[in-house]
């Protein structure tokens, strides 16, 4: 294309952009034949989707780039590669199953509305098409595991799901992490809190923890009874510990001792992956000291493997005891 032709093209395109600007400056419903509005921030979604926005605003997706725990473990994002998933450009730009690339804008929005809802053509994608508001186009991929996979398979979570009975039964990520809800206006939608390891109820629903006395031993069973992926999933940060202490007749308790840790070592760390796959049970057999009258057992969830019991990054999931007398 020669230079004058490019100038003419520039003028034409500038007119189009000008028209688009005028469209954007008049908020409200747009007709089907008008250019769809262009969105640059999740805050623009709030006007029409306040309930959804508030859910996302309180979620760990929103916090992805701000979470102090993440910032500490990523050396304040000096490990730049972490930014690809913690401050991502829209999934559609690189495509389902491909890793996202990092963006430079809106650090407080983390994994934002546009990450999932901006489609490849710059339009908003929703479960249903509409010519109202943001004029969404229907896109079934929004609920597909492949959408989550772009980031969540970085630590093999969706691979773990594929190997589980959940995948065979068609129970996808959304069944637990974006359950269906009825909105204030009576419409059906999906919850945008993305509940996971930061919510106690969700954590407790993932596992069962039982202990019993058997032939002089204390038998402790931890079962991944509710997660469609390993328990815990993700690497580096997460760990689940089985702890025990024994109490004698005088009420003196021994120190808490870790008898097992469920965890995938981070990158080059030595050790085996001991995460508990979906549906599987891990059994610990403990020999109590002769003077013990009771065994007390706890299952702790740790957001990072260095967290102590007193640390905010630790959550006590279950505790139980076994009489030994």
């Amino acid at each position: 294309m020669n230079a004058p032709a490019r100038s003419a093209l520039g003028l034409l395109l500038l007119s189009a952009v000008g028209g688009l600007f005028l469209t954007l400056s008049r908020p409200g419903p747009s007709s089907a034949d008008a250019a769809p509005p262009r969105f640059t921030s999740s805050t623009e979604c709030r006007a029409c989707h306040e309930e959804l926005f508030d859910e996302w605003d309180a979620s760990h997706h929103r916090l992805a780039y701000e979470n102090p725990e993440v910032r500490r473990l990523s050396d304040d994002f000096r490990n730049k590669e972490c930014q690809a998933c913690h401050l991502p450009r829209p999934i559609a730009e690189t495509g389902l199953l491909n890793r996202t690339l990092p963006r430079f804008t809106r650090p407080s929005e983390g994994v934002d509305c546009l990450t999932c809802h901006l489609d490849g053509s710059g339009r908003i994608a929703g479960l249903r098409a509409s010519d109202q508001g943001c004029a969404p186009v229907a896109n079934a991929d929004l609920l597909s595991v492949r959408g989550c996979e772009t980031c969540h398979n970085q630590h093999k979570t969706t691979d773990q799901w594929r190997a589980s009975s959940y995948a065979r039964d068609g129970i996808t990520c959304n069944a637990c992490h974006m359950p269906q809800v009825t909105r204030a206006d009576g419409s059906l939608g999906r919850k945008h809190v993305f509940e996971g390891c930061h919510e106690l109820d969700m954590l407790r629903s993932a596992a069962t923890f039982r202990a019993r006395r058997e032939a002089g031993e204390v038998v402790v069973e931890t079962t991944n009874s509710g997660a469609g992926h390993n328990f815990p999933t993700e690497e580096r940060h997460r760990a689940v510990d089985v702890l025990v202490r024994f109490v004698d007749a005088a009420g003196q308790a021994s120190a808490w001792e870790r008898v097992w840790r469920f965890r995938q070592p981070y990158r080059d760390e030595p050790g085996e992956n001991t995460q508990l796959p979906a549906g599987e049970t891990h059994v610990d057999r403990l020999t109590p000291p002769p003077d013990a009258v009771r065994a007390e057992l706890r299952l702790w969830y740790r957001l990072n493997p260095y967290a102590t019991d007193e640390d905010e990054a630790s959550t006590l999931l279950f505790e139980t005891e076994v009489a030994l007398e």
Binding site: R6, L11, L14, V17, E81, N98, F104, P107
Partner: protein, 413 residues
């Protein structure tokens, strides 16, 4: 000039450049070099195929036993001596020593690092650089740093200086520090931990200024070159671990293999291209010879954003007119990238457009904070830094980002 009011030619350039494929040309002004992308993965894999590999399981097990017997503190001196001779005579000694860097016993890790250094195994440099980040034992860390020093790489000496300033751990670092300073004939006259730390830091500064990029392979470095090629090839996958490893290695090498990086930035493979551009950005002026190739990437919709940042950091002055166009364009991400790049680019004519953005309180905050950074970078008149500090005080923008920008302007704060 009000930033959004770009000239017709500039707007035409921005809009034309948003199209895929064809390189944009301004109606009046410079044109971009043609975008010439080719598939590079196979070539890099071929180059990387001669990199030191992982031996079969039986050999690995044999090496593991030899390493433990040679260097573990629980082995008898006789056994250590015998096993040490066997190990060093083994065909796969390199693999054994590298694997030994992950041994549970710190003394074994330290000894393996020492041997890699003494044997001049420069192909181990990337692994040693990764281990510096992960090592927690002070003596082992110091010996890994010393091994790198022996191999001509002083990138990690600041970690040693940190150790020497740590009262609780400095003693453990002394033997390795001794080796480094004696070899460099740089023992300080004053006998204090602080003097040792300062001497070590001085060696690092001197090394940094002597680093260079080359398109030529150095004799004797074929295995290192092959390993680096394999590392670049690993950028094209899904996982980020190889990205982290490649970045760690490439940004800390003594002699940069610009021939390999050039393959990366012109690769058709998307992630290979993007991540190599990011490596170039992190290298800054050392990657200056890649400027023309980075400039061509402004015509590439996938990489453009990251190329803008990299062009600023490598200081490719020819990028200025294009960055000014992006700064006043419609694409917010590109505006932010351009605002961030113009400071490091170091061109005086960017001052007024940046100042206009900094002074416009209604300007997009993402663009404004980067413009403030670049304005301060160029003028050092306090205007940009004051805005960044004011935004922190008012909690009006993402504080970690503001602090990071200020830290770049005021190193050491």
């Amino acid at each position: 000039m009000k930033p959004r009011c770009a000239s017709w030619a500039a707007v035409a350039l921005v809009l034309a450049s948003c199209g895929a494929g064809e390189a944009p040309t301004a109606a009046a002004g410079p044109s971009l070099p043609p975008l010439m992308l080719s598939s590079r993965l196979a070539a890099l894999e071929e180059l990387g195929s001669t990199a030191p590999g992982v031996p079969d399981e039986r050999t690995r097990s044999e090496l593991s036993e030899l390493v433990a017997a040679a260097y573990s503190s629980i082995a008898s001196p006789d056994m250590q001596a015998e096993a040490g001779r066997w190990l060093l005579a083994h065909d796969e000694v390199f693999a054994g020593l590298e694997e030994g860097l992950r041994h549970p016993e710190a003394a074994v890790r330290a000894s393996c690092a020492f041997q890699l250094g003494e044997r001049g195994e420069r192909a181990a440099v990337p692994t040693l650089l990764w281990r510096v980040r992960q090592e927690f034992d002070p003596a082992a860390l110091a010996w890994i740093v010393a091994a790198l020093d022996r191999l001509g790489n002083r990138a990690s000496l600041p970690r040693l200086a940190e150790l020497l300033r740590d009262e609780a751990r400095c003693e453990s670092a002394l033997p390795a520090t001794d080796a480094i300073l004696l070899r460099a004939d740089a023992w300080p006259e004053e006998r204090s931990w602080e003097a040792l730390a300062t001497a070590v830091e001085a060696l690092h500064v001197s090394w940094r200024s002597a680093r260079r990029g080359t398109f030529e392979r150095e004799a004797g470095d074929e295995r290192l070159h092959a390993r680096l090629a394999a590392l670049l090839a690993g950028l094209d996958g899904f996982q980020l671990k190889p990205v982290d490893e490649a970045r760690t290695a490439f940004t800390q090498l003594t002699t940069l293999p610009l021939d390999l990086l050039s393959l990366g930035v012109t690769a058709q493979e998307r992630y290979l291209r993007v991540h190599t551009v990011e490596i170039a950005r992190d290298l800054g002026s050392l990657a200056a010879p890649l400027g023309p190739e980075l400039l061509a990437l402004l015509g590439d919709p996938v990489t453009r954003l990251y190329a803008v940042e990299a062009l600023g950091e490598v200081g490719h002055a020819e990028a200025l007119p294009f960055l000014l166009v992006f700064l006043s364009g419609d694409d917010l991400e590109l505006r932010v990238a351009a605002a961030m790049a113009l400071g490091p680019l170091g061109q005086e004519s960017a001052v007024e457009p940046l100042r206009a953005i900094v002074q416009a309180a209604t300007e997009n905050p993402d663009v404004r904070v980067r413009a403030a950074f670049s304005l301060e970078h160029l003028t050092r008149d306090g205007t940009g830094a004051d805005l960044l500090r004011d935004l922190i005080a008012r909690e009006a923008y993402h504080a970690p980002t503001l602090r990071e920008l200020l830290a770049r302007l005021e190193p050491g704060t």
